[in-house]
Amino acid sequence: MTQYQDNLPKSALAAFFDGLEENIIALILGLMTLITFANVVLRYLFNQSLIWGLEVVLILFAWMVLLGISYGFKKTSHLGVDAVINILPTRGQRVLAIISAVVCLIYAALLLKGAWDYWAPFAALQPTEGRWFPTGFTENTRDRAFYVTDQVPMLDMFRWLEGLINYGDSYDKLPRVIPYAILPFSTALILLRVVQATVRIVTGKQNSLIVSHEAEDEVERVAHGEYEE
């Protein structure tokens, strides 16, 4: 089964975004490791600690994974079961691939609504109306712009938020609107990547939404440090 993979020619813009996403993922993981390591050294050797260290690392962890999910849809690297689809004729495979793509579209759309509804009050914005289908914006939802993180220091570069959403009250810690902003951003990106994958499937440029289990690919992947169960 051929996959939409790196070996296809890609535009300079696509290459730029691939590189950008890959660098961000590498950078975040590197930062997580160094902050955790620094905290061990500070505690064991100097009896100190970065009191915000743990919380920042956890935020970075969430950012890395949420950003990376859309990258996974772009590169068709998410795990799935292909035992059944592999025994079907090509036509059947295509039908199931299109159904799968629709399933993923519904998932991504619902996730985006949930993410917006969750994040909006933290940004003093309104969540959407409707149980599953957004039918407009609710009115008069109490905002949660005052809600700050436990220990992450406030950064001066975000002081403009105080006037914008916090009635001019100063923040003594970083407000949650900032770390949580990754949710609507990344779920929107997931939706975009799933739409693109669906188009590729419908136009026959891609065969499925899951990583193929052909052995040679597997080894290639694991040799690069993937699959770690």
């Binding site: 969430a62 994974v65 292909d82 799968s100 399933v103 770690e228």
Partner: protein, 464 residues
Amino acid sequence: MDVVFLFAMVIGLLLIGVPIAVSLGLSSIIFLLMFSDTSLASVAQSLYQAMAGHYTLLAIPFFILASSFMSTGGVAKRIVRFAIACVGHFHGGLAIAGVFACMIFAALSGSSPATVVAIGSIVIAAMTQMGYTKDFAAGVIANAGTLGILIPPSIVMVVYASATDVSVGRMFLAGVIPGILAGTMLMIAIYVMARIKKLPKGEWAGWGEIGSAFKDAFWGLMLIVIIMVGIYGVPGVTGAIFTPTEAAAVASVYAFLVASFVYRDMGPLADRDGTGPVSLLNKPQALVTAFFHKDTRHTLFDAGKLTIMLMFIIANALILKHVLTDEQIPQQIANAMLSAGFGKIMFLIMVNVILLIGGQFMEPSGLIVIVAPLVFPIAIELGVDPIHLGIIMVVNMEIGMITPPVGLNLFVTSGVAGMPMMSVVRAALPFLAILFVFLILVTYVPAISTFLPTSLMGPEIITN
């Protein structure tokens, strides 16, 4: 029953080729929308908190990163050389050395497929050269590779500890004796087969080779010491230095330093033109550039990408878990099982069956996140030790990895050995039988799992 509908939806979506994570997540969301008042926003909250709210799961990216640095950084090949020097001269010696090397690598890495690739890619080729059949070689490595999650550190144990709030350190200790036992059982079986089938044996290369192989592998082997001393301390010398989660981060930094500056198989000092690695003295700026070198960046990205794949599944399994909790499913299942008069034995058989079936479809971490909260309260009620339950789950996951259709070790082994997957399944079968015997042993002799943690850390306390 509604919950049957939920699980049917998950399995149906899985089988038509929907990504595992989406199958879990969308089924949960639909179930939530149909049967509960809980908002979609709570799904987003669960998704974010899967990472930001689970401190122990942080060990996953770090252990993956440490493994990546060791695979790219040449630690594996040095371990194989050391293992062959030790046991290569027995009947079936190279196969035994393969198992032994898998055990050592398992003590460095939290993962099974990584163990298969790191050791298998070297050992299987060597075995076929020495006259073993490819089937035999592949069967040995596919099975021995599963020790990666039983011998600590282990990603699956981290996930179990996080799902049930037991101590990660205890789980790691609990895996030591079962891991050594399983490895020994495999080695004995190979030795017996070797005597019967007259399998080749290698030359005894002498203590000198053991010594020099050990010296070469020393920096890699030191990682085991660092992790163990760091987590448990040395009585009378130092207390523990870090938590199991932090241990994984320290291991990553250490593996990076060894790979870049000691072995120099990667990074700015690596051999680029066949003249051998560069000395740090000639290129002192490497101390800084190593952190930004493309090898480092590439390793970080690969580890990050794998973390993302796993965490996407785990996060959606956590959404499913949240929905199950919200609808009080665990209590209902617990009540049903308890009122059916299930005893300990029957319960443990049930757990084995559920996990063995689930393991055919699901990736281990995701499965544990879902099953552990369902069976944990019943186990406590029936007086099953939580640590013992955890080891039973891990062994079930090992078996799941070498049985089709979803068996990561199978895919990986078939690739490493260059043979069709069904042949690997057949080749793994005799050794799989050993793992089954081992599962029964572990299930019905709790002391194998609980002896070490209990004697070193005191009896398990159940805080829930």
